[in-house]
């Protein structure tokens, strides 16, 4: 089918075009083309009367295509599409040809050549429109339902923000309690507030949104399928064995005969098999750790019906329109012997040090010994140029300074050394570095080629540093404790595989573009926030969580999202099922599917396709075309351009 009643409009642009390009000549040159029904020139096509002209012509001449030759389509494509639509024609049966920026303005000393070029360009536009087909935007319904994976500070922030805008949230947490690493940390910078306090406040807010946030703790995602607008989620909720409320949980916990290392405190303390990790943990029900429980029944005696040691796992299924990944990070676990780790008593990591502070009141003690002198070693598991972790973990410098200052405030007479590479207390966090100096904490700088060495001497640890600030002299620091400022490591969760979200080089999840689309992934409808994307502190984490909520709301508040119609389409007749196109697609929108007769054919997921056309470029059979830029259209444009004027 060829569109053969095309209206062609050449704009003077108040002289901008017509001073160079002979617009009358252009009209003359195209008006008799077989595809053209009417050709006109006009002073300002973008003006209201200019647009009206198009609308009227569509009706009067029963046009089935429109070409406007004027300025760049980046300026007025939408304007003219609107006019075409108002005229009653499909807005994609229109092409804007740029004869201002691409002709009049760049060839202003060659009016004849510019006119000839304009004619050829307009003809190519006519050629393109003559083969154009009606298109419409692809509408995807977006129910206000979102899955948030992970209930650390990022997941909670995102869930809250969404719920407040009437979005139904499924918040799924692997652990029996929510709050993640912030609850576990000591004071959070820069507010100086306790992590657990911040989480407590968020939990209070969360309780208010109970009707909209369905929280699943102790839960794993079993399967995930579908695409943006409709993901199907299967969640397995593992038994808590505590099924109801009881006023005597504390007695039950006390009576429990089992004692195991408490992972919340990194084994610094013990907990029972039935336990809360900390005061004010949420959900408010304790949990029974069945791996260690011997089912002695002591707790059942006290709490009766509130405890069911035979509780089974449950499966829950639901649909959501988008998925938010907020799965967080793991602290780097140093290798045995790395700066004396697990080799000498008193060498611990920063997260453990923070728990130690939370647990030690009055005096800072570790394994019964008072700690007076501490050396912090920075960049452990970060900035390894040729190693496993090339990246900088961003938060550790400030977190270490913050912890050291908190320790100084809490305990008397501590002596603190920082053994660093660069102090990256960026932005306003510089004040922590300054404060540490004021308080007399000492800084020593090492270069990665000559890292500090930790040795044991009597009951002291000796840290030896080739200190760049002291002209490369080796300085010895006798200390009681060495704290390794460990970086963040990416986690690898099953959901990543289920969704096939891409990773960046550092192993964290990859956003589409850090500046244009910072919270979206290449998988449509899958958004990321917090430390699963990159090392971040709490401030940056909560900001990204809110940003995720905002992005989601741009879909869900309206109830739908519209995607551009310029997507790839497969000509099943030509497709041989070779599969070359599948890996070519940047968004995994192509799948080979078996059709009747056992043959395989390529199928495009319209929702995932972003319209780059790469699949068409690789197809050996020209079986894939990009709508709006079909190869027959492009060839006809080439034909039109070379034809003599």
């Amino acid at each position: 089918m060829v569109n053969d009643r095309i209206g062609v409009y050449i704009c003077h642009c108040g002289g901008n075009i017509s001073d160079v390009v002979d617009v009358y000549k252009v009209v003359e040159a195209v008006k008799d083309m077989p595809e053209v029904a009417v050709a006109r020139e006009y002073m300002f096509m973008c003006s209201d009367p200019g647009q009206k002209l198009i609308e009227d012509d569509i009706k009067n001449y029963n046009l089935n295509g429109v070409v406007v030759a004027s300025c760049s389509p980046h300026l007025h494509e939408l304007t003219f599409r609107g006019a075409v639509q108002r005229g009653g024609l499909n807005p994609y049966l229109f092409e804007q040809i740029n004869i201002r920026e691409h002709s009049a303005w760049v060839h202003k000393h060659e009016p004849e050549a510019a006119t000839e070029k304009a004619i050829r360009l307009v003809r190519s536009g006519i050629a393109k429109v003559s083969l154009a087909r009606e298109l419409s935007t692809i509408r995807v319904d977006m129910e206000p339902k979102v899955l948030v994976v992970g209930a650390g500070i990022a997941g909670i922030r995102a869930a809250l923000d969404l719920a407040k805008a009437d979005v139904e949230v499924y918040l799924v947490e692997k652990q029996p309690f929510i709050g993640g690493r912030v609850a576990q940390g000591y004071g959070a910078y820069p507010s100086g507030r306790m992590g657990s306090e911040i989480i407590k406040e968020l939990i209070e807010e969360l309780k208010k949104e109970e009707s909209k946030i369905k929280l699943f703790t102790n839960a794993e995602i079993k399967s995930l399928g579908g695409t943006i607008g409709k993901f199907h989620v299967v969640v397995q909720v593992n038994p808590r064995y505590v099924v109801g409320n009881c006023s005597n949980f504390n007695d039950a916990i006390e009576k429990c005969p089992i004692e195991v290392p408490d992972e919340f405190n990194y084994g610094l303390t013990k907990r029972k098999a039935i336990y809360y990790p900390y005061e004010g943990a949420y959900p408010e029900l304790p949990v029974i750790d069945m791996e260690n429980c011997n089912k002695c029944g002591e707790c059942v005696k006290i709490c009766g019906g509130a405890i069911n040691l035979e509780q089974e796992a449950e499966t829950v299924e639901f649909d959501v329109s988008t998925i938010v990944l907020a799965t967080g990070f793991n602290p780097y676990e140093p290798k045995e012997g790395e700066f004396g780790y697990k080799q000498f008593e008193g060498v611990i990591t920063l997260p453990v040090f923070e728990r130690l502070m939370a647990l030690s009141n009055g005096k800072l003690t570790y394994n019964g010994k008072e700690v007076k002198e501490i050396a912090f070693i920075y960049c452990v598991g970060s900035r390894e140029k040729d190693g496993e972790h090339e990246y900088c973990s961003r938060y550790c410098c400030t977190a270490t300074l913050n912890a050291s200052l908190a320790a100084l405030e809490k305990y008397n007479d501590l002596r603190i050394y920082h053994i660093y590479r660069d102090i990256r207390a960026y932005g306003k966090y510089e004040r922590y570095y300054e404060e540490a100096g004021k308080k007399g904490e000492l800084f020593l700088r090492y270069v990665p080629e000559e890292p500090p060495v930790v040795e044991k001497e009597g009951d002291k640890l000796i840290v030896k540093v080739k200190d760049q600030l002291t002209f490369g002299e080796e300085i010895e620091l006798p200390v009681d404790m060495v704290v390794l400022s460990v970086g963040m490591e990416p986690r690898n969760e099953d959901v990543f595989q289920m969704l096939r979200v891409p990773f960046s080089r550092d192993g964290f999840l990859q956003e589409i573009h850090p500046k244009i689309r910072p919270v979206e992934t290449a998988i449509g409808g899958v958004l990321i926030c917090g430390t699963c994307q990159a090392p971040r502190d709490t401030v940056e984490t909560t900001a990204s969580a809110s940003a995720v909520a905002a992005k989601t709301e741009t879909y869900t508040l309206k109830g739908y999202t519209e995607l551009e119609p310029f997507i790839a389409e497969v000509d099943a007749e030509k497709c041989t099922g070779c599969g070359d196109c599948v890996p070519e697609c940047p968004t995994e929108a192509i799948e080979l599917k078996e059709v009747a007769g056992g043959e395989k054919k390529a199928f495009i997921n319209e929702v995932l396709c972003i319209g780059c056309g790469a699949c068409g470029g690789i197809c050996p059979e020209e079986a894939i075309n990009l709508r709006g830029y079909r190869y027959d259209q492009l060839r006809k444009m080439i034909d039109a351009m070379v034809e003599e004027v």
Partner: protein, 446 residues
């Protein structure tokens, strides 16, 4: 009848545009007010951006286009918010001063004929005076709105622009206009102020022609740069030995700014990389106190710069002196050698810091928006909700609350939009789905 909007966004830089776009996409009506003649902010001046070295224009121009065309955004450029009264939750009265361009904005088609006809040449502020512009001019090539303006301070009233204008848009009698609006929430995205390099007298900015600051270097490196190469100002020669001096007006209490500006380490590494890519044999040095390559992909970028042969020297440059041929001697304690280094360069780039630009708080007449000790807008609940200010219904995004790079600003802009939406929901201003009828007083996205 006072025009009503759901949100007022002050500042049309990358953060302000992003906040406005998210709100508008979600279906809210936004008033975006920008002081300068075009939206785009500082990012529109930049060359390429770290750590991906994608071109700043490629990112900002689609955002500029999307903002200017969005049916839910009313954009007021060359305008200033003068007064804000918070009358109630969800009700802010706003006065905006629209400065005259001496051009009828509706008539101007951005053809630049006035610009060609204008005989007056003045230094172009967009290009930091590296080139000249006319008194009748369009702010910069990507500017939006693409409307000319006449700089009456320099105009000689010859009337040539008036004669050549095809739409009779020139109007020398235009007056400033004060307009009133009512909005339900406010987002502050007023960005930062670059440190005035001349205040660090030891570095000779303004005295030695070949000492330039980083934003000038951005223009020299930009694909749309004024000359086709990086040329040193004194003699127009291509420099082949260049130094970057970090922490100029940052981390320096003696200059009144104790905090770090977050971006200078990285933009300097980036400038050196871009320069080196154009001139492989150039001898490039970056003098730093600490290299703060902390963001995603930053450390890798810094390593790449080192691998390209760019020299990173730890040492705070104490002073710069000029030689007779306008070369520059940089004096620093080099920590690797433990000696004082006096090295001669063709050109020196000062990595100027980002200072607070918080005059906007003065427009709030009956509420006090708090500042932090450094003059930035204070983040009221910084860990749990970093975009809140102390005033309910007023949010902050981007460099207005502290120095920040582009990705962090954009993320925060999204966050501010989210909190703004939650605030509007709390007050009952909900977006209704398009299928249902539009309840009164609520705008729906179409």
């Amino acid at each position: 009848m006072v025009e009503k909007y759901d949100a007022l966004v002050i500042g049309g830089g990358v953060a302000g545009m992003e906040s406005a776009l998210v709100l508008a996409d979600a279906g809210y009506k936004v008033l975006l007010v920008e002081k300068s003649p075009s939206i785009g902010g500082k990012m529109a001046e930049l060359s390429k951006v770290f750590p991906t070295t994608d071109c700043a224009g490629c990112i900002i121009s689609p955002k500029i286009a999307a903002t200017s065309k969005h049916p839910n955004i009313k954009m007021m450029t060359y305008s200033e918010v003068k007064e804000i009264y918070k009358e109630d939750e969800g009700k802010f009265k706003v006065k905006v001063l629209k400065r005259p361009r001496y051009i009828d904005e509706d008539a101007c088609i951005g053809c630049q004929r006035c610009e060609y006809a204008c005989p007056v040449l003045v230094p172009d502020e967009y290009n930091y005076g590296l080139v000249a512009r006319k008194a009748a001019y369009i702010y910069f090539a990507m500017a939006s709105p693409r409307i000319a303006q006449i700089d009456l301070d320099n105009c000689i009233l010859c009337g040539r622009c008036e004669r050549v204008c095809p739409t009779e848009a020139v109007n020398f009698l235009q007056q400033p206009e004060e307009l009133e609006f009512e909005v339900k929430a406010v987002i502050l995205a007023t960005g930062f102020k670059p440190f005035d390099a001349a205040l660090k007298t030891e570095y000779g900015y303004g005295k030695y022609p070949n000492v330039i600051h980083a934003l000038e270097m951005e223009r020299l490196l930009a694909p749309s740069r004024p000359y086709n190469a990086v040329l040193r100002p004194s003699d127009g020669k291509i420099p082949d030995k260049v130094a970057w001096v970090l922490c100029v007006g940052s981390r320096d209490k003696s200059l009144g700014n104790p905090i770090c500006s977050r971006v200078c380490c990285m933009y300097s590494a980036k400038q050196a990389i871009l320069f080196s890519a154009a001139q492989l044999l150039a001898d490039l040095t970056v003098y730093y106190m600490d290299i703060r390559a902390f963001g995603k992909g930053f450390e890798e970028f810094y390593n790449m710069a080192e691998d390209m042969g760019i020299r990173f020297v730890k040492g705070k440059v104490a002073k710069i002196e000029e030689t007779e041929n306008n070369n520059l001697i940089v004096r620093v304690e080099n920590f690797e050698t433990g000696e004082i280094e006096e090295e001669e360069y063709d050109m020196v780039v000062l990595a100027i810091g980002l200072l607070a630009n918080s005059d906007v708080i003065k427009v709030f007449k009956n509420v006090n928006v708090e500042l932090d000790p450094y003059g930035f807008i204070n983040q009221f609940d910084v860990n749990a909700n970093p975009v809140l200010t102390n005033v309910k219904g007023v949010f902050v995004a981007g460099c207005a609350s502290g120095p920040k790079d582009i990705p962090d600003s954009i993320v925060e802009a999204g966050a501010a939009a989210a909190q703004c939406i939650d605030y509007l929901y709390e007050l009952g201003y909900k977006i209704s789905k398009v299928e249902t009828a539009e309840p009164e007083g609520v705008v729906s996205g179409k």
